[in-house]
């Protein structure tokens, strides 16, 4: 089994401007935040981000690195609307491709299965269609429920993702990932849908220790879909990563406040996000707590 463990710097070498990046997790839950900061540090621009959006959408729009967001929603959970995303939308700073939450899942699934689209009813009659003029419908080749013409359905296109990043509770050096929290979300599909996938984790463990951590049902990321593993304890901070840790609500509030004021954002960005490594970030967060 090849050793896929890499450093943050090696991950940064994989990034290029103009890429479409898939980000696992859900809202402010189990987001690969250390890798998001690596993306910031890399300086790449013109990014498209595809996600069930949380702070990665807000941060990469605030830094100006993201030109386009493709999403099912963008939320911080305890703060229902991502505040930096709100600013980006209301100033027209980013292009937004918004899908019904369930329809978004089908875009990931289609990419994973290498089919051009999956059909769904979601979107018929709503403004999801008008908001996405490129979105097409298809007529079923099979008879409708009344024996007549086939039903019309929305064709959710496969998301063309260059690189996905996901965060797991545990992983082995070979690239197998384990989630120990309440929900995998769609991280397996992000890994499958993308040309390349990089997985951060709380802890790299020997393969034979996986079943000491959780049942066989928690082993949902097979290594055939993973290209690199980055060990990053607290790597999802400030988003939640149960059972390892919950959301850092105070820090999330601090982050949310920075959407109101450029100076607040500049100092927050400088102090926490523009740190040179994940270790430096954690040290800054710890010293920030002591300041309070």
């Amino acid at each position: 089994m090849a050793d896929k463990v890499i450093t943050e710097e090696e991950f940064i070498d994989e990034l290029e401007s103009g890429m479409t990046i898939g980000v696992g997790g859900w809202g402010s839950r189990r987001k690969p935040m250390s890798l998001v900061r690596s993306i910031m540090r890399s300086g790449v621009t013109d990014l498209t981000v595809v996600s069930y959006g949380g702070p990665e959408i807000g941060i990469l729009s605030a830094t100006g690195q993201m030109k386009k967001a493709v999403y099912g929603f963008v939320s911080l959970d305890s703060i229902p609307l991502e505040p930096h995303f709100r600013v980006a939308r209301q100033t027209g700073a980013i292009e937004a491709i918004e899908f019904d939450e369930g329809a978004f899942y089908l875009g990931l699934l289609a990419a994973s299965h290498r089919v051009p689209f999956y059909p769904t009813r979601a979107g018929l009659g709503s403004d999801m269609m008008a908001m996405n003029p490129e979105l097409q419908t298809v007529v079923s080749p099979y008879p409708g429920p009344d024996g007549g013409e086939g039903e019309t359905l929305v064709a959710i296109p496969a998301f063309d993702i260059d690189l996905s990043i996901i965060h797991m509770n545990r992983a082995d050096a070979g690239g197998n990932g384990q989630f120990l929290g309440p929900d995998l979300y769609f991280d397996d599909l992000f890994a499958m849908a993308a040309k390349r996938t990089f997985m951060s984790c709380e802890k790299v463990i020997p393969t034979q220790e996986f079943l000491n951590e959780g049942s066989v049902h928690t082993l949902k990321i097979p290594r055939i879909f993973v290209d690199g593993v980055i060990e990053a304890p607290m790597g999802a901070h400030f988003t939640e990563c149960p059972p390892d840790y919950g959301r850092d609500e105070n820090f999330q509030k601090l982050y949310a406040e920075t959407a109101k004021d450029q100076e607040l954002w500049d100092s927050f960005n400088q102090k926490y996000l523009q740190t040179n490594s994940h270790e430096e970030y954690l040290a800054a967060v710890n010293s920030g707590e002591q300041d309070e």
């Binding site: 918004e98 939450e101 899942y105 769904t120 009813r121 018929l124 709503s126 979300y185």
Partner: protein, 249 residues
């Protein structure tokens, strides 16, 4: 009798006579109302713990440490599967709602560069086209009951008429509950109608606070008041009285 308690009982009544579906209310009063229905007259609906499982016992609001009797695992992927299966009745909020039940929770203004970005489409498009939907609007005003919504996140009956059969066959906007009354679409052209008004509310108040022409039945019924037993259960589900903040007197 407090208005918030009447609202919660009215929400619970939206789920009356339902069984073997996911009762999925979203928001403070809807969750209390849904859990009340399940604890009383609709025991055969299933409900989530708002995280990832279906729990049989009536859980207190926003209490992650509350004891749960778990009957099934329901991560988000399963929730979407249930949406598409049709075995679900969702109750959502609506920043704007119009006479045909078109809902907007997405944004105010032009979608491309909105004046105010709201929650976004979320799951509304998929919910409306797949299964029964009800709405909860805690503040009934001309700003929420509008003649035309800015963006249609959840399509109403006029949109469905345009879409036509068979594509519209699972669409079912069931009830709208506000702080003033209960409304349905059981009219020949599916325009919103007063189903009942809450005790202490005059019809004129509903008319004044609605931007479109509400269908008014000849005999106006009053919304029922909850029983002592229901009030006791509401307190178990909402021990901190969050419903009273959502619906002040």
């Amino acid at each position: 009798m407090k208005r918030a308690d009447i609202c919660v009982a009215a929400i619970a009544d939206c789920f009356r006579d339902e069984a073997d579906i996911l009762c999925n209310p979203i928001g403070i009063s809807p969750i209390i109302g849904g859990r009340l229905a399940k604890a009383t007259f609709s025991p055969d609906v299933v409900m989530t713990d708002a995280v990832s499982v279906l729990a049989t016992n009536p859980l207190p609001l926003n209490d992650p440490s509350a004891e749960r009797t778990i009957e099934a695992y329901a991560p988000y992927r399963t929730i979407f599967d249930i949406v598409w299966s049709g075995r679900r009745h969702v109750m959502m909020g609506a920043t704007q709602i119009d006479q045909y039940g078109n809902q907007n929770i997405a944004a105010i203004g032009d979608y491309k560069k909105p004046k105010a970005q709201l929650l976004g489409l979320r799951g509304s498009p998929g919910n409306l086209i797949n299964h029964r939907t009800s709405y909860w609007v805690p503040s009934h005003s001309q700003r929420s009951f509008v003649s035309e919504v800015d963006i249609v996140s959840g399509p109403g009956y006029d949109r469905m008429r345009t879409l036509g059969k068979p594509d519209n066959r699972f669409h079912d906007v069931h009830r709208v509950v506000s702080n003033l009354g209960v409304f349905d679409f059981e009219t020949s052209d599916n325009r919103m109608r007063i189903r009942s008004i809450h005790p202490g509310t005059e019809v004129g108040e509903v008319i004044e606070n609605t931007s479109f022409e509400m269908v008014i039945p000849e005999d106006i019924v009053q919304t029922r008041v909850p029983s002592e037993d229901e009030l006791r259960i509401m307190d178990l589900i909402d021990p901190r009285g969050m419903r009273y903040q959502e619906v002040p007197e």
